[in-house]
Every structure is written in C-alpha cells, then in structure tokens.
Amino acid sequence: MPQDCWIIALPSRSLPRRKPVAVEVDGVPLVLFRDAKGRPQALLDRCPHRSVPLSMGWVRGDRVICRYHGWEFEGDGMLRKIPSDVEPTVPKKCATPYPVHEAAGSIWVWPGTGEPGDLPAEVLTAPRSWRAAVGGLLARFRFRSN
C-alpha cells in the first residue's frame, strides 16, 4: 500500500523537457514529464487503452503521448486526443494523476490515495540544488563585495 506522504521521485535535473521518465515511487510505477511551462506532472505509467507504459512515448506541449496508438494525456489525467478517431475527441479523465511538486532541486510525488498535505517548510525554502546553493553563495559574496 503506497504511503500518504511526499517522496522524492528523482532530482529535478533528471526530468528533461519533452521526454517522459519512468520512476517507481513506493511501489507505484509513474511517468513523470514536464508540461509546456516546465512544471512537472505525474501519471500512473499505464495507458488505459492497451496497457502500454506511457513512459515509452514522448511529450508534446502539455501532453504525454502513448507510443502505441498516439493517445494524448494531460497531467490531470484527461485524455485529449485519440488520433484514430475521425470525430474530435471528447476530453475524458481516464489516466490516473498523482500530486507532484518541484522543490529543493527534486521532484516530489504523493503516491498515496489520501489528500496530499503541504511539503515541509524547510523543503520549500531549501536551495534547489548544490549548484543553486553555490550560485547563491557566490551571488551573495559578489553582492557584499560590491
């Protein structure tokens, strides 16, 4: 049973734009991807059509696209396009979304079924990564020396 807590899925730098990444968080297989604005999104790594991992596909705009039949999903689990359909696809929620948050240089996921709580304050205020931390120190040093 997945825990009701925030868990680090992977470092921020390991989640590129336009490429879905498969991770397993507390026994839950997830596909992580970034939407058009760079925000991380998390879905259960299974296409509801033919059960192919969505992480085998690719990302275009806000959507992750299944490699098997090109079904397109947004981060909220909404199915936006079925390419083989002649009629426009009626949006329908059929993929399983998971709460996700990017903070302190990491992608955090809530794999449980309970209502997600807030990330701890120290996480939200922590530097994004060691590079960001070093960069911040240097900036502060430069600021002081000026």
């Binding site: 509801p48 059509h49 059960s51 192919v52 098997y68 039949h69 390419p83 083989s84 002649v86």
Partner: protein, 290 residues
Amino acid sequence: MSFPSEAKPLWDATLGVPNHWYIACPASRVGSEPIPVDLAGNHLEVGRDRTGRVIAPTGGLTVVESGPYVWAWAGDRPPEGHAPRLGALDRPGYRFTQRTVRVKANYHWVLENSLDFSHSAFVHPWTQPSWLLHKLWGLPAMTATYQATPTGLEVRSSLGDWLLFWHRFVLPDRLELVILPTSPCPLEVVVHHVPETRTFTRMEVLVAMKAWPWQRRDCRFYPDSLLVHRQDVVIVEAQQTWIDRFPDEHERHCAADAYTLLMRRVLKAACEGGWDPGDSLTPRSVAIRI
C-alpha cells in the same frame, strides 16, 4: 453504431484454440537431426526419417509437411482434415520469404497487434508508410468495413473507392494481409501467431511479393528479423509486462478497436467450444484515421 468505451479483456491467457493445425516450424529448417519445437504447451522434436518424411519422435503430436511449413495438430481429438494450404503460395510469378519472430507475450496480444493497423503511424518509424504520412500530412480518414466469417473475420480498409488493405483473420492463429489488393502486383503477408507457451509466441511470417524477371520464384527462409518486426516486439512485450502487473485494470476503447473486439469474440467462442458467426456476418463500417 456504438462501441463499448470500457471493457475488460474477455479471456485469460490461453494456449491457443484447441483442435487445430499449428505451424511447428518452417520445413526448410528440418533435417535428419531433430530440432526442438514448443507448441501450445507441448515440447516436441521434429526431424525427418530416411525417406525424408517429417516425423516427431518425441512430443506425441501428429506432424505433417504442407507447403513451406511443418504443421502439428494440437488438441485432444484426432487430427481432422488436411494441414492448411496457404492460398498466397498460389500467386503466379511471385517469390516468397519466410521469417520466424519470437515474442515474449501471449499470442492474443501479438495477434491483436497484427490485426490492428492504427498503431503503424506511431510504432513503426521509417518502416511503415503511414508513419511518414502522419508526419507530413496527418492521418487520412479511411473506412474500415469488417465482418465475421465462418472461419474468423475480415476487414477491408478503403480510402474513398480505393481499397488499400484487406485483412483476414483465420482461426486459430493466422492473419493474412493484402496490401493494395486490386493493384497489378499486391503484396501479401501471412503471419501465423503460434502459442508456444502461455508467455511466448512464435510468429511465422510469410511474405509474397512479385518477382522481378531475374529473380527466382522460390520460397526462402531468412534467419534474421526485420526492423518492422522488432518494433512490434518491443511494444507488445512491454504491453504484456504491464498487463501482468495490472491484471484487474479495465481497458478503454475507441472506434478503431471495433474489429479487434470482434476478434476477441471469435477467439473466445472458439476456445469455449466453437465459433458460430450467427448474425455477425453482416458487414459493418467504421470511419477511422490510419
């Protein structure tokens, strides 16, 4: 016409439809030294006796040679009729190539993948024209007319009045695809999806293509696999892994799944005692983009 938007697969993983002829191996692979063959959960060895006749010294299945294949009867009843004779081999002026492709997946999923042509634009970069069409102009809207037959089902896909593909599923495991069937030199692909075990399928692929005047009109076995087959293997094996992991999850369907769902009905009925098309013989049409 309406389609079920959500349904569970109709069957459990099976070892194929009982009491049918299945391909044991390409005939050219069999010599005096027996070769091992897995078929519908049976393990047998196939070889030739001193007269060149095909025999199965172990395994207990009846084997015969017909055309470019060795066939074995799998079932609890004695063999019925003759081993199938493939109509594709009767095309005059054609040459034939054989390949064997193994897939770590149940044969239902491999068979569905072969029948379903709406995946070509996504699974087959550089190996299927529909992938390039999709990249350049988008997927064209076509009409797929499908109907059950006493031995399975068939699907005719047309672009306007132009018949592009003709798929035919023949129980227990054969899929015949004719590309541009009304052209002077149609390409025909016959694929048998032999269930070796519950988790392994052996695809026996026979391609019939028009021979150039300088080419030999023979049937050759090639031990390599083509990229187009490897692309299918990757996707179906991933699908099988995930089906095993999420056995209770439902599927969502779309219009292009209509004939795949009909094939599930055919297979389920055949596994449970016999396929009777009943009123399904009436052709139905569905507009899809492929």
